[in-house]
Symmetry: none
Subunit: 229 residues, 2 copies
C-alpha cells in the first residue's frame, strides 16, 4: 500500500485531504511545519509528498529543494496563489505537480494516482520488490532462498540462486555472459566467463523439463541469455 505525506499547516485542509486519500486506500501522515515535514519526508517511508508552499519554519520552496536533493519521490506543491505556482514552476525546484487552492479533493486523488502510476512505471517497483517471483511453474522465494518447480522444491547453491533470481527479475532482457558475471560475481569480468555457462547448465538441469529445449532460460546465440516470460 502506498504512503503519502501531507505537509500543510492548515489543519482543516490537511484532514480533508487525508480523508479523501484514505478513501482511495492510501496510507496518510500529516506534518504541519516545514522542518518536521522535511525530516519525515527524508525518512524514506513515504511514496509521495503533498507540500504546501506557505509553512511555518522552513518554507515550501526550501523543503522541496531539500527533499529533491535526496529523494526522487513525486512531490505535489500546493498554493493559494496562482502567481506563486507560476513562480515555483519557473524555479525548477523539481516538484512534479502544482495545484492552486481551492481544489476538489477528487482532483487531488486523481493527480496522486497519476503520479504514483508514473513513478511505478518509470522506476519499476513491480516485481523487483516482491519477495516471491512466480512465472509459470517456477516459484522463487527470495527471502527463504528456495526454488520450487511445480510445487516441488529444488535445491540451489548460492550462485545458482543468485543467477536465476537476477534473470527472473529482469525477464525478456538479454544479458551477455560478461554482464551476468559482473552482476553476480561483482567483478569486472577480466576473469573467466565459462563459469557462467556452467552455472546456466546447472540451473537448467534443475528447472527445465528438457534442457535441450529450455522453457525459462533461453540462449541467444552469440549474445547471451534471456529469461523468457
Amino acid at each position: 500500500m502506498s504512503k503519502i505525506l501531507i505537509i500543510e499547516d492548515e489543519e482543516a485542509i490537511a484532514d480533508l485531504e487525508k480523508d479523501y486519500l484514505e478513501l482511495s486506500d492510501f496510507e496518510v501522515a500529516i506534518e504541519n511545519t516545514g522542518d518536521k515535514g522535511l525530516e519525515t519526508a527524508l525518512s524514506g517511508k513515504f511514496d509521495l509528498v503533498i507540500l504546501d508552499l506557505m509553512l511555518p519554519g522552513m518554507d515550501g520552496f526550501e523543503v522541496c529543494k531539500k527533499i529533491r536533493e535526496e529523494k526522487n519521490i513525486p512531490i505535489i506543491m500546493v498554493s493559494a496563489k496562482k502567481d506563486d505556482i507560476d513562480k515555483i514552476r519557473g524555479l525548477g525546484l523539481g516538484a512534479d505537480d502544482y495545484m492552486t487552492k481551492p481544489f476538489s479533493p477528487s482532483e487531488l486523488v486523481a493527480r496522486v494516482k497519476a503520479h504514483m502510476a508514473r513513478y511505478d512505471r518509470l522506476v519499476g517497483s513491480s516485481q523487483k520488490m516482491n519477495d516471491i517471483i512466480e512465472i509459470r511453474g517456477l516459484k522463487i522465494d527470495k527471502t527463504a532462498r528456495r526454488v520450487y518447480v511445480n510445487g516441488e522444491e529444488r535445491i540451489f547453491t548460492t550462485k545458482e540462486f543468485d543467477l536465476l533470481t537476477f534473470l527472473a527479475e529482469n525477464p525478456n532482457h538479454v544479458y551477455s555472459k560478461e554482464e551476468l558475471f559482473r552482476e553476480i560475481w561483482d567483478m569486472d569480468s577480466i576473469g573467466d566467463i565459462a563459469t557462467v555457462t556452467v552455472h546456466i547448465k546447472k540451473i537448467r538441469e534443475k528447472i527445465e523439463f528438457d534442457t535441450a529445449k529450455p522453457q525459462y532460460i533461453e540462449t541467444i546465440w552469440g549474445v547471451g541469455y534471456r529469461f523468457k516470460i
Copy 2:
C-alpha cells in the same frame, strides 16, 4: 540533444510551438494526423510527445494509450476544452501533463523542460535507450532482441538482428554495403562485402511478404540499401 514530437493538426499552432522549442535547443518534428503521429512516436527516436486531443484519423486518447503500451516517454496532452482535460485525466491513459489552449509558449517550454528533467532523474541515462522500434507491421525489441512481424515472432541471428536494427534506426538513408559492413562488423571492409548481401536476403526472408518486392529494405541499385519508412 532531446527530440520532441508534436502531434497537432493546426499547422499554425504546431509551427509556433516548434519555433519556441527550437529556441530552447530542442529538436522538433511535427505530424499532423493521429495515425502518422503514433507511427512516428513508436519509431523510438523521440524523447517527449506533445499530443493534441482533436486529430484527424486516430484521436488523441487512442494515440496516447497506444504510445503508452510501448513507451514510457513523457506525453503532454493539449486540448482547447478544459472539460476534456478533466475527462482524460480521469481516464488514466498515462499522459504526464495536460494543457488547455491557449497557453503561452514559455509555459510549454517550461513544462517540457520539467518533464525531461524528471524523466532523466527517474530513468537515468543508462536505461533510457528506446527499447522498441515499430514501423508498420515490424516491431523490434532491442533489449529482448526480438523481432515481430504482424505480432508474430521471427527468430533472428545476431548479425541479422544488428543489421536490421541499424537500418530501422536510420530509415530513409541509403547505406552502401561497405558502410553497413563497417557498421555491423566493426571492421574496415577489407573483408568480403558479399556477406552483407546474404544477410539482407536472410532478413528479407524473415520480414518481407514477398522478397522480390521488399516493403522494408529496398535495394538502391548500384548504391546500397535503404530502410523505407
